[in-house]
Amino acid sequence: MSKKLTPYLFLTPALLVIAVFVLYPIGAVVYYSFTEYNIMTPPEWVGLRNYQQLFRDDIFWQAMKHSFTYLLVTPILICLSILLAIVVNRKLPGIQIFRALFFIPVVSGSIAVGIAWRLMWDTNGIINGILLSLGALEEPIQWLAEPAYTLPIAMALTTWLGLGYYMMIFLAGLQNIPEELYDAAEIDGCNAWQKHWYVSIPGLRPQITFVAVISSLAALQVFNEIFTLTGGLGGILNSGVTMVFYLWRKAFRLNQAGMASAIAMVLLMITLAFSIFNMRFLERGTEEQ
């Protein structure tokens, strides 16, 4: 009898934790999304009202738009990281130092870096200082108070943060590509650029897929950058509000756990769709290969 129990015993701690902190919450969120719940008094069933209000809510659609806009970070990051990995993939003196240098933003954490960026882009920050000195500006711009600039600055921050990390991944991938492929390409008459296009990039397909999935899921769920750059406010006119930020605000600032749960359900549908899409893409890619 115990022989049969053994696997389950091994699994017990993990299953227990997952049950309490993942499975139960999923069920609970589904339930809460049909209630009005401020955490202090018991939840009150309201049926589909949260979803109806959400549908009519301008800010929600704005948040979704911002989240999808944020996805632009992924292709930009992939291109820049691959380029950087190619540049860094050679035995030049001091190359190790550069590789380590590029990795520093990753270990510093998005919060510390976000706070540092907030200082930089402040009206009294160094960015304005440099632009003013160069004569590019006459008056300092309140960068983080301009609705149009909030999201781009956040996206730049995410790109900046991810560059070193993804560069390393692509570097490892590049080093796994056998030399013979490059030699074969050279014999076929390819120059440097063509070599990379026909050999490196296809060879990096697994890494590209991995980075694409991770980066896009992260972009859809970005929070830290928005939080630090806008001081928890989401930017003027909600210019920096993304779906996760809106969820957080509804749940923990406005005490509307029911509405927040409805947003969470929508977010779940989106990540589900995205994951399925990514996996199809994956399959088709490996088939072609």
Binding site: N38, I39, M40, T41, Q142, A145, P147, L233, I236, L237
Partner: protein, 454 residues
């Protein structure tokens, strides 16, 4: 032998009873009156006179209650501990636990309510509208039948009536502030202005800010109360935000548009700091002023201590002027209150504590250590308030009683207050930063708000 004795005794008894004197006719006795003074020495243990500050009855014996104060530690630790000690002199049977919460007060309170261990007595902000927020969720104890009329009469009536929900009262008015403007006279002088030139009305503010910006490049440090724009509209613009039966919102009236236009113009002219304008944290605006980067800031004189602590150099340039009045003629509502949670295990003990902290003597002591003002008329009879002001923090003393008695909560009860204010905030932001037409955005907002009404 025994039988012989027994027989003898019985015989004696019979003989004696036989020999009881027959009724004899005696002469009428002379009545001699003699006053007999009996002195009895009785040990009296003097009963302690009832403590005059003990006004709540039926206080539960052995009650243990908790009180939360908002951002009063560590500056006022001694005062609060002394008040609790005095409370125990009046109500020795109650044990009091005191906690002070600061930036995370609302979060902590919400979580405490959720966990079921909220404090019995809670220091809530009237100015931020917390009392009506929590009362409308049914989380606070209604006071109307809980305390006697004598207790209620201790306070200014306008303060007692604040933030009533459905006609029921939920708070003991605590310390009040006079809303003033702290002025950085150095910046004013640089702009060629004098303290006397400071605007008396809200409508004069834009021109003032323009002068300051033109001369010194400094922006105005003005904060919209983004959590309750309806209230700000009412006080500053004289706007009636909802119709009398509460069936339709009306904050798209010409008065509302005029009020909004005032701020739109300032943003367009670039005379205000945009981040401060829409921040929901008072500290952001206060810190901008304290760091010497703003000409004035609208707050209470009790926060002058922050200026003194964080930027002593500025303290020398500080001046205090009454806050500009809006079209309503009323400057504002009260500051702080003490409420009791609805499901407290010790209602009478909690009421006693809340009442004690807000009684005239306690508040007078408080006023003596910081520039706040009592919510009880009796406190102002103390010579402390008739003494001439010395330091700048005291400059409001002479007119304090008058000002406090005029504080009023003139905003009507607004259903779905948080959500409607959110709608108004979005509309206002569109008008301020996207150049949308104020009348249009306000009318749309009214429509959206009306959709929430049943």
């Amino acid at each position: 032998m025994r039988t012989k004795l027994f027989a003898l005794l019985t015989l004696l008894g019979i003989v004696l009873s036989a020999c009881s004197p027959a009724p004899v006719v005696t002469p009428t006795p002379e009545v001699i009156e003699k006053t007999v003074v009996e002195t009895q020495i009785v040990e009296v243990t003097p009963m302690p006179a009832p403590n005059p500050e003990r006004v709540i009855e039926n206080v539960e014996d052995g009650a243990e209650i908790t009180i939360w104060t908002f951002w009063l530690s560590p500056t006022f630790d001694d005062y609060l501990k002394n008040t609790i000690t005095r409370f125990n002199e009046a109500y020795p049977e109650v044990t009091v636990n005191w906690e002070d919460h600061q930036a995370t007060f609302q979060d902590d309170l919400r979580n405490a309510f959720a966990a079921g261990n909220a404090p019995d007595v809670i220091n809530l902000s009237i100015s931020e509208g917390w009392v009506s927020d929590y009362a409308s969720q049914g989380l606070l104890l209604p006071l109307d039948d809980a305390v006697s009329q004598d207790v209620k009469d201790v306070y200014f009536p306008n303060l007692w009536d604040q933030q009533a929900v459905d006609g029921k009262h939920y708070q003991f008015p605590w310390y009040q502030g006079i809303i003033v403007n702290l002025v950085n006279t150095k910046i004013l002088t640089d702009a060629g202005l004098k303290v006397e030139d400071f605007p008396k009305t809200i409508q004069e503010l834009p021109a003032f800010c323009q002068t300051i910006k033109d001369a010194t490049g400094t922006l105005c440090d003005i904060r919209l109360s983004v959590n309750d724009l309806l209230a700000q509209m009412t006080y500053e613009g004289g706007v009636q935000v909802i119709n009398d039966d509460g069936t339709a919102f009306s904050f798209d009236s010409p008065e509302a548009v005029a009020w909004l236009q005032l701020y739109i113009d300032m943003v367009k002219a670039g005379t205000v700091d945009k981040t401060v304008l829409v921040t929901d944290q008072d500290r952001v605006g206060l810190d901008l002023f304290t760091s010497g980067q703003a000409a004035f800031y609208n707050t209470g004189p009790n926060l002058i201590r922050e200026v003194r602590a964080n930027n002593p150099a500025l303290y020398g340039y500080l001046s205090v002027v009454p806050a500009p009045v809006g079209k309503s003629g009323i400057v504002g509502k009260g500051l702080m209150a003490l409420s009791v949670k609805a499901d407290t295990a010790y209602p009478n003990a909690s009421l006693a504590l809340a009442q004690f902290f807000s009684n005239p003597k306690s508040m007078l002591e408080f006023s003596k250590i910081v520039a706040i003002y009592p919510s009880t008329p009796a406190s102002y009879d103390d010579p402390f308030f008739s003494a001439a002001p010395v330091a700048i923090e005291d400059s409001a003393k002479p007119y304090a009683k008058d000002a406090v008695s005029k504080l009023a909560d003139i905003v009507p009860t607004v259903p779905h207050k948080a959500e409607v204010n959110e709608i108004v905030l979005q509309a206002v932001q569109k008008a301020l930063f996207e150049g949308a037409d104020p009348q249009t955005v306000l009318t749309e907002a009214v429509a959206a708000a009306n959709a929430l009404l049943p």
